[in-house]
């Protein structure tokens, strides 16, 4: 039996998953429901299904990744697909032509599913136009990371029972974050109140037009939040003069107990990983019972299984 069959009345009429943009609230909810089933499966001793038996899944990562790549690999294997990992080093970069050449080459190998991460926004969409298989965006530049937003939503829903009406504060490097963009789209679609909290130098221009409340102070932005979602601050941001340094960043924007106390007592602490302890998050807060960081990783596998499942129904060459 397919796990998709267990989620009744769910229709997912898309060939690719390129972003949260374009998904209806019903489709998002359907994917989350399907992910719940996948969670159960992943907690069994026998985790193997044959939904994707005979299908080929290629992980094509132009940017280094540990958890996203391995969870797609596991998700594919648990559903019975043949999984191949291709890491393309950043040094052999990668103009538009090169990317398309790569796509054409891979297409000739006749995969069924292609999971792509690329450092350039829009690259995954470009690639999807050149291949015959389904393409899943595993992160394109600062644009979208749809499966991360889905796993975050699943984690929230499992703890809070719902998404609608929750106050979610997304904190940190909003400017460069694809996680933030996908989460803003998804959480807004499901009726959450989304805030972004960052120094002005890390806020994207016009972000308020995406339907978020903008704060430049953690002490204000976290007030009565149900969810505190921290983003990773890359060290390059300091060299590029967006923030002065680690000490100052942690003092004003790092999540410690003092700032967390402004949120609701039962607020969840989330982080897409990998964490910079002592930069954007206090080490003890990261390990606190309020933190659901490890659960996010577990939900990552489930959500990716659900996405593969949903897309598999419309695979070409059926």
């Amino acid at each position: 039996m397919s796990i998709a069959a267990e989620a009744s009345n769910f229709s997912f009429p898309h060939r690719h998953l390129l972003g949260i943009e374009g998904l209806s609230p019903a489709e998002i909810t359907g994917l989350l429901d399907l992910s719940e089933e996948a969670t159960k499966l992943s907690r069994q001793i026998d985790k193997k299904r044959d939904d994707l038996r005979g299908r080929t899944l290629i992980n094509l990562f132009f940017e280094a990744s540990t958890r996203t790549q391995s969870s797609f690999e596991l998700a594919g294997k648990r559903l019975g697909a043949d999984v191949m990992n291709m890491s393309v080093s950043n040094s052999s970069v990668q103009k538009g032509e090169t990317l398309i050449d790569t796509a054409v080459t891979l297409n000739a190998m006749r995969p069924n599913l292609l999971v792509v991460r690329h450092h350039a926004a829009g690259a995954v969409q470009l690639l999807s136009q050149k291949v015959d298989c389904s393409v899943i965006n595993a992160g394109d530049g600062s644009h979208e990371h749809p499966t991360q937003a889905l796993l975050d939503a699943l984690t929230i829903r499992r703890h809070k029972g719902h998404i609608e009406g929750l106050v979610v504060a997304i904190c940190g490097d909003i400017l460069h974050s694809r996680v933030a963009r996908s989460n803003i789209l998804l959480l807004n679609a499901l009726g959450a109140r989304v805030r972004v909290v960052a120094p002005s130098t890390l806020l994207a221009s016009g972000i308020e037009r995406l339907g978020v409340e903008v704060y430049t102070s953690m002490w204000e932005g976290l007030v009565d939040a149900d969810i505190v979602m921290m983003l990773r601050l890359q060290r390059e941001r300091m060299a590029s003069s967006l923030v002065p340094g680690q000490r100052e960043y942690f003092h004003f924007f790092g999540l410690d107990y003092e700032k967390l106390a402004r949120a609701k007592p039962d607020a969840l602490v989330m982080h897409p990983g990998p964490m910079n302890r002592g930069v954007e998050i206090d080490s003890n807060v990261a390990d606190d019972p309020q933190s659901v960081v490890r659960e996010q990783v577990e939900m990552g596998v489930a959500v990716r299984m659900a996405v593969l499942q949903a897309l598999a129904r419309h695979l070409p060459n059926q």
């Binding site: 120094p199 002005s200 130098t201 002065p244």
Partner: protein, 443 residues
Amino acid sequence: MTAMNAPTTNQRSTARPIALVNARLIDPASGLDQLGGLLIVEDRIADLGRHIAAGSLRDAEVVDCGGRVLAPGIIDMMVSAGEPGLEHRETLATASRAAAAGGVTTIVCMPNTEPVIDDVALVDFILRRARDTALVNVHPMAAMTKGLLGQEMTEIGLLRDAGAIAFGNGKTSVANARVMRNVLAYAKDFGALIVHHLEDPSLGQDGVMNEGEVATRLGLRGVPTAAETIMLERDIRLVELTGGRYHAAQISCRTSLDIIRTAKLMGLPVTCGVSINHLTLNENDIGPYRTFFKMKPPLRSEDDRRAMVEGVASGDIDVIVSAHDPRGAEGKRRPFAEAADGAVGLETLLGAALRLYHNGEVELPRLLRALTANPARLLKLNSGRLAKGAPADLVLIELDTPWIIEPERLCSKSKNTPFDGARLEGRAVLTLVAGRPVYNYAD
């Protein structure tokens, strides 16, 4: 004169209230200009007005001001005080004595020291040194980029919390527009004031004085006014983009004044200062290569100087600074092109500024506002005004006293004054900081 004798410091905590009576009270913040008295209790202004008069206050020590002007003490936003690292030129102690003698009760010291004030520990150092050695209030301005190199911004939040009152880049401009944008955007979140020196480094590179006929006759390389106006225009576009609070440290030419006016009409959070030198001197004063007139920005044309005066009179120029920059013989006794920039100015600031009043160019309250209330507003200080509860930082001004500048009598450790031998009219005769006399001309 009849001013009081300065009590010694250990009397302060038990000091009697002081009543300064028979004074012309001028408070530029409120527009007050009337005869009356002012009562000091401890370190604050307790009361002021016509009703404060001799005989009305039994237990107070009464000082008859003889109708002289009593105004808030001057707040000087640009002082190089030598510490740390340049103590051979000036120290906080000598700078503060010079300040007191000039009626200046608060100084903002510049970050271009050795090492540069770009770290919390150095802000703390300045505040502790000032507490221990300075007669007047001292507020450090911190660097806005690390090492003043214009590349990485400093810890603006932590520096502000440590006591940095504003952020500047010394006598250099941040050439990189992206860095300047980030600094303005980041500083905005902390309500921090960015004070920027204006000189495009590539245009100003070889210049040693104002570009034009005088420089050509002297055979000196010039700095065009465009070096200033290009940087100012750029900064204003970045303020428009970021909303950061921006203060042009000093402008020196007519075009800059026009740019500032336009920015203010647009409602941007933009203000500017001018140095006393650029209000009272011009490029012709350089004469035979006199290095004491070498400044940064350079002294400009007479038309530019007149524009600066007009800007103060109209209020478009917010602040007058001394641009006090002590330099020894090792910096000044050199060929003009190789000599150091800068002039001392703390002790001559008020007397030189009063030239504008005596010439009928600027009304006295307007002049004093640019020296007191306006800098206080920009720096968010409680001083700079005559008001109940405000700190008793005061200056008693004798408007008509003629005096001649004798460099060897200056309190400043360095004597590089462009007013050497100048005849000034009017000066501070009594200066009080937190209710305590720190300078008395009669002594």
